[in-house]
């Protein structure tokens, strides 16, 4: 019954009459709604990608890191100075039961120089099991193995290959590192990269055999990570427990290492993402609040401006409730219009992001629906004070007020 006097049409008429004012009023809502949808979309997209990658590259892989290493998941350019993992650990883990393969990753310092020097590259010493453990194939050539390795051979990450050499397929090319010449045996396929994931480092890496590396560092190179692949996913938990017990023994009871299951790797990465998402959503909520206050302000002005109209409406029989509804519907129309524009804007930004970046945001209808509901709520909540003010005005006072 309260809707009958054509309030929605009236609200649209009023909005049209004050096009610019309405648009500016909506601005906060537009920005708030659009950023909430975009941010949640990005974060869900990245989360999905990370999960996919963990499933493809880290399937059944237990990641053993030095305690400090888990902190460095913020980005791999920062590498722990001292690792608590040792060669001894690598050997101990290689002989556990239920293991398909295990791979140590030693981080080595020094700049490699091929056709060009590559200061941002990372040199990783590892063994022939790496492609198997990471479930990654080679683009060209073959991975070195203990049998055929004549020592100074190397396999390049996809970015590293391009950074070091001018040619497109650098098989058989050589580069120098640590005063030694290495020959390129193979180039890995590109790892799909997502923010905050392990894979970033592999594309930039130069892999050399660990046997060679141990000669350089006189057998005391530090182990960055040990990747242990289980035979099946069912064995993962028990294997992880076994690894922990073994390492506790070799570390004489000190728990200065971490043993992470694939699911934990994912949550580790998505945890930081979640934090950033929450921060941004917090800002978006502030924007929505500011937008709401803007609506309240404009509605208060509008009520004052239209006091005479309120008086006339009351004189011809509008009840307080009907006036209240009129102004509530007006403020809600403004906020909902803002919300809709925000949703459309978010969809446009989504398309833009897909085109120009490697992000693929996931926009779910639930988020869109919730945004729409939130904008309705903002209209009602922030419109209620002006609407009450309008409705409570005595008809004669409203009429006298020009």
């Amino acid at each position: 019954m309260s809707f009958s006097p054509g309030h929605i049409k009236g609200a649209i008429v009023t909005m049209r009459a004050n096009r610019w004012r309405s648009l500016l009023t909506m601005f906060g809502i537009i920005v708030g709604v659009a950023s909430v949808i975009v941010i949640i979309g990005i974060s869900q997209g990245v989360k999905r990608d990370i999960t996919n990658q963990v499933n493809s590259y880290s399937k059944n892989v237990i990641t053993v890191s030095s305690r400090a290493a888990s902190v460095s998941s913020f980005g791999f350019s920062t590498v722990p100075a001292v690792s608590t993992l040792t060669n001894q650990d690598v050997k101990a883990l290689a002989h556990l039961k239920g293991i398909r393969a295990s791979v140590p990753l030693y981080l080595l310092s020094g700049v490699a120089t091929g056709d060009r020097s590559y200061p941002s590259g990372v040199v990783i010493a590892t063994n022939q099991n790496l492609p198997l453990v990471l479930n990654q194939s080679l683009a060209y050539g073959a991975f070195f193995n203990d049998q055929n390795s004549n020592g100074f051979s190397a396999v390049l990450g996809n970015n590293a290959a391009r950074a070091l050499f001018k040619g497109s397929i650098p098989l058989g090319y050589s580069f120098t590192w640590g005063g030694q010449q290495f020959v390129v045996d193979g180039v890995l396929n590109k790892f799909n990269v997502t923010p905050f994931s392990n894979n970033t480092i592999y594309n930039d890496a130069i892999f050399i055999p660990d046997i060679v590396a141990s000669q350089f560092n006189h057998g005391s190179s530090s182990v960055f990570q040990i990747l242990v692949k289980a035979k099946s996913s069912a064995q993962l938990p028990s294997l992880a427990k076994q690894i922990s017990l073994t390492l506790l023994r070799t570390h004489s009871g000190q728990h200065n290492f971490s043993v992470l299951l694939p699911s934990q790797i994912a949550s580790n990465s998505t945890g930081i993402l979640g934090l950033l998402t929450e921060l941004t959503i917090g800002i978006a909520v502030i924007s929505l609040f500011v937008g709401g206050v803007g609506i309240m302000n404009v509605m208060l002005v509008s009520v004052t401006e239209r006091m005479h109209e309120i008086g006339i409406r009351k004189a011809v029989g509008a009840s307080n409730r009907q006036i209240l509804m009129q102004f509530l519907i007006e403020s809600t129309t403004v906020s909902v219009a803002g919300g809709l524009i925000g949703i459309i804007l978010a969809l446009l930004v989504d398309v833009g992001l897909r085109d120009t970046t490697n992000l693929s945001p996931v926009i779910s209808w639930q988020v869109v629906l919730i945004s729409a509901l939130i904008s309705i709520m903002i209209g009602i909540v922030f419109g209620s004070v002006p609407a009450f003010r309008a409705s409570k005005k005595e008809p004669i006072d409203a009429l006298r007020n020009d």
Partner: protein, 290 residues
């Protein structure tokens, strides 16, 4: 049976030293079918009285019975319902909402009654036809002359079939032609059995009324029946019309009595005292219409 019955109604504005006694224990009863003119000098409480009768305002003291029902302390929603169902208002100016068309303006009271949109527009349209405005339905108020606006306002006041029409200086902004148009309309409404109460400063307009109430300083000082078509006796004596006197008049020594006294029955002298230029402007708009 009195339709409106006011007993010792007082209205005070403000408080402390700034208190104004706008109505001083006014008692008045108006029967169904009367056409009442209320006259009196500016500030004597005419509008205050109308607003109380129209349930736009409440008396400070006294009792008000509308159709035998005490209404002076009604809740806002009950007062709104009574206004919606039984009272039609016409004000001196700014009657129509500028953003609505004439048709939508006239349909407004019906919206609050809960009528469907089609029914609303249908009724409003037929009401506009009755006031001779059917060809102005989709005009906006800014596109109308003063007289046309008042006609639309009358249509709106009538659209919910009220028992009482209350008009506060409905011709206050109009020239003689416009005034006549509006008064003829009100007169027609009266003839159909409605009760009409209006305020005017123009003694000439009392010829439409069946009763004239004179006020002064918040008191009803005289209350006389008047024959239709005749200017009321007291009004003819010009006791209470106090038009604004211009500086030029003062300099020329023109007496107010001379200015206002109607000269026999010349119809063109119906106009209220208004600045000449304004009157001419209004006149042209009206003439162009007809």
């Amino acid at each position: 049976m009195a339709l409106i019955n006011l007993e010792d109604v007082s209205k005070l504005y403000g408080f402390g030293d700034a208190t104004t006694l706008a109505l001083d224990e006014v008692s008045l009863s108006i029967n169904k079918g009367e056409f009442v003119a209320i006259m009196g000098p500016s500030g004597c409480g005419k509008s205050t009285l109308l607003n109380i009768m129209g349930l736009l305002d409440r008396p400070t003291h006294g009792s008000y019975k509308l159709s035998n029902r005490l209404v002076e302390r009604l809740s806002p929603s009950r007062a709104a319902k009574l206004r919606r169902d039984t009272i039609g208002f016409i004000f001196q100016s700014y009657n129509l909402l500028p953003r609505l068309t004439v048709l939508e303006n006239v349909a407004l009271p019906l919206a609050y009654k809960g009528y469907s949109l089609t029914r609303r527009l249908e009724l409003a349209s037929s009401m506009l036809e009755r006031v001779g405005m059917q060809n102005r339905e989709y005009f906006y108020p800014s596109q109308l002359s003063g007289g046309q606006i008042q006609c639309a306002a009358i249509a709106r006041a009538l659209v919910n079939d009220p028992t009482i029409i209350i008009a506060d200086e409905p011709t206050g902004n109009l020239d003689s032609n416009g005034s006549r148009l509006v008064m003829e309309l009100l007169s027609e409404i009266h003839k159909m059995g409605n009760t009409v109460i209006f305020v005017t400063h123009n003694p000439e307009l009392t010829r439409y009324a069946t009763r004239v109430v004179y006020m002064h300083d918040g008191l009803v000082v005289q209350d006389e029946t008047s024959d239709l078509g005749q200017v009321a006796k007291t009004a003819r004596r010009n006791l209470y019309s106090v038009p604004r006197k211009s500086v030029e008049d003062d300099l020329a020594g023109v007496s107010l009595l001379m200015k206002v006294m109607p000269e026999d029955d010349k119809k063109d002298e119906l106009a209220e005292e208004k600045p000449k230029s304004k009157r001419r402007k209004r006149g042209t708009t009206i003439r162009r219409r007809s």
